[in-house]
């Protein structure tokens, strides 16, 4: 629940990852993309709180995957992490929502004998009603080197064909898309990135693969994901990064953080091997 140390740790991560891949200087110095602190007026109609079982409330901010809705969810999660409520054990932001996991026994004492879920709901409503200030987005740009196609990206040619593009154009559009980390989920450190160029929008594969290696970069719908550990999966595999997305001993354990902007940089196989060796 400590927010400050993590923000510091984020920058350390950036320092580890970006320098040799970001010769032009990262976006940290670019004032045009630094979010200033903007007051976000979340109107009464703009959110809905629903219970999920007897130890969770889900706060929902919309019904579609959208940059602004996602930003609201991330800001609310950020605020709740910075202002912890006793008894809340996990805050899980997703595309359009924040799930709040809590221990009901922390809310067992109320003069009105209100059940715990009603007490916590009131606390969250009060936070939302006062308005949430978007944190100054860390505006971190992480460059992710990717070796596209071949064994690493067996679906690259198929994706290109169904989009009516050449594989090189897919790589170019993927690299130029303004990716933002919308959510971490599915597996430890597994990022869902919004911002994929709509020309690359693809359905998921009809038959999922049973084993996808860690580091695999994949697309589906209008999103990109990077498989953080070896898992099954149904996305279209276009390449692989030598970066480690998840390291259980690191703090935080993930390379990418919510709100990070991500730029994919094509690299040849030799550089992939060099960077992979550096990561090990």
């Amino acid at each position: 629940m400590e927010v400050e140390p993590q923000l510091r740790a984020r920058d350390e991560h950036a320092a580890q990852v970006t320098p040799h891949l970001d010769p032009g200087g990262s976006a940290q110095g670019d004032p045009a993309i630094l979010d200033k602190s903007i007051v976000n007026s979340i109107t009464a109609a703009g959110w809905r709180i629903e219970p999920m079982g007897d130890g969770c409330l889900i706060v929902e901010f919309g019904q579609r995957v959208d940059a602004e809705i996602n930003r609201t969810a991330r800001s609310v999660a950020h605020y709740m992490l910075a202002h912890p409520i006793e008894g809340v054990v996990d805050i899980v932001p997703a595309f359009t929502s924040v799930t709040v996991h809590y221990r009901p026994e922390a809310f067992s004492d109320s003069p009105a004998h209100d059940p715990p879920h009603r007490q916590l709901r009131r606390r969250i409503e009060a936070i939302l009603a006062q308005g949430i200030t978007h944190p100054i987005d860390v505006a971190r740009l992480v460059e992710v080197p990717v070796c596209y196609g071949g064994d690493f990206g067996p679906d690259l040619t198929g994706v290109a064909a169904s989009c009516g593009l050449a594989p090189e154009q897919v790589i170019e559009l993927h690299g130029a898309s303004p990716h933002v980390v919308y959510m971490l989920g599915f597996a430890p450190g597994f990022p869902y990135l919004g911002g994929l160029d709509p020309r690359l929008a693809m359905p998921r594969r009809a038959t999922p693969r049973t084993k996808i290696p860690a580091g695999t970069v994949a697309i589906a719908r209008e999103q990109t994901a990077i498989y953080s550990i070896e898992t099954p999966g149904g996305w279209n595999l276009i390449g692989r990064t030598p970066l480690k997305l998840f390291a259980p001993q690191a703090s935080p354990p993930c390379l990418l953080q919510l709100g990070d902007r991500v730029r994919f940089v094509p690299i040849p196989l030799e550089l992939f091997r060099t960077l992979e060796a550096q990561q090990a």
């Binding site: 997703a94 026994e105 430890p188």
Partner: protein, 336 residues
């Protein structure tokens, strides 16, 4: 002190109360499937409830204790014994140095929890000792126990917690001495009961057809063989939605009942993912999760709907029961 694995059993992993605070990084919570038995076992040996226990699944391991150790087993009855002598469940037992704990036929339940006084000395990962098998981290080297493993354990101070227990062991001449301190039901074996699993409605409960809602609350569902710590896949009448729903992935929790397009519900268990994208038709009341955790593949179950207020009332009552057990152990541990 250490315990040596002479036989690993079917699936024996270290688990605690879960890895909370990291779900926003996609890190799975994990932890004991039956948290009640886990906590009770810890209380019996005077550990903190959050200390790791060994979760033993269906077929137990054989464990050799090099030194005298105070242990307790709760949950499933997998016929534990030391030598030829059965080891009682739900009671602390002081094992003689060099003795071996074995298991036999499964009598009831699915998962037994072995607590050792002083705990299992493994390094916490993200503040938890729970083993996450798919991620390969936590617990003992991120994996289930194997033949030949030596796990550092414990504290050699059983005598401080149960005065006289060492002398009783010496005088008995047996391989172990079981202290009189015992847990009372309902902690013995919840799995022996056959009542319905209580649930509260989920966000998409109303999206089910009328007949699907009726079926969910009346039919028997079988736990299929491909059920594990991540989820229980159920087989029964196919449940239908009024119309397909386009879901956006969001948080899920222990006991969330998801409905994939094939109409067969899945109950998410301890090693569930942090988020999910299927309709959520119901959530198992937390108080009944231990019961579910003790059910085995092939077993059938049914569901009963209760209100959220009732689920939380039951949960708080359960916490009070656990508090009462802790107090009872404190009263009994100094003997009659």
């Amino acid at each position: 002190m250490s315990v040596r694995v002479a036989k690993p059993g079917a699936l024996s992993t270290l688990q605690d109360l879960g890895r909370f605070g990291y779900q926003r990084f996609g890190v799975v919570v994990g932890g004991a499937m039956d948290a009640w038995s886990h906590r009770a076992a810890n209380l019996l040996v005077g550990n903190c409830e959050s200390e790791a226990t060994l979760e033993i699944t269906l077929i137990g391991p054989s464990l050799t204790f090099a030194e005298t150790a105070l242990i307790a087993l709760c949950g499933a009855d997998l016929s534990p014994r030391v030598g030829e002598r059965p080891l009682p469940l739900g009671r602390p037992a002081l094992l003689r140095a060099g003795s071996q704990l074995d298991f036999g036929r499964r009598q009831s339940g699915c998962r037994a929890y072995l607590a050792v006084r002083g705990g299992f000395h493994v390094a916490p990962v993200m503040e938890s000792k729970s083993t996450y098998l798919r991620g390969g981290f936590g617990g003992f080297h991120g994996r289930a126990l194997r033949h030949g493993d030596e796990i550092p354990i414990g504290a050699d101070d059983a005598e401080d917690y149960y005065p006289g227990v060492g002398r009783m062991l010496r005088e008995s001449g047996d391989s172990f001495y079981a202290h009189a301190c015992a847990l009372v039901p309902p902690f013995a074996i919840a799995a022996k009961t056959s009542r319905a699993i209580r649930v509260v409605g989920g966000q998409q409960w109303d999206a089910l057809t009328d007949s699907a809602r009726a079926q969910f609350l009346s039919a028997a569902f079988r736990i299929t063989p491909n059920s594990d710590r991540m989820g229980y896949r159920l087989e029964g009448p196919k449940l239908e939605l009024r119309e397909p729903i386009e879901m956006i992935s969001e948080g899920v929790t222990f006991g969330t009942i998801q409905l994939p397009p094939d109409g067969n519900a899945i109950v998410l268990m301890a090693d569930r993912q942090t988020t999910g994208g299927y309709p959520k038709i119901a959530n198992v009341a937390s108080v009944d999760l231990p019961l579910l955790a003790q059910m085995v593949p092939g077993q059938s179950l049914s569901f009963e709907m209760i209100s959220l207020d009732e689920a939380q009332r039951l949960y708080l009552a359960g916490e009070q029961d656990m508090g009462a057990v802790a107090q009872a152990i404190q009263r009994q541990r100094r003997g009659p």
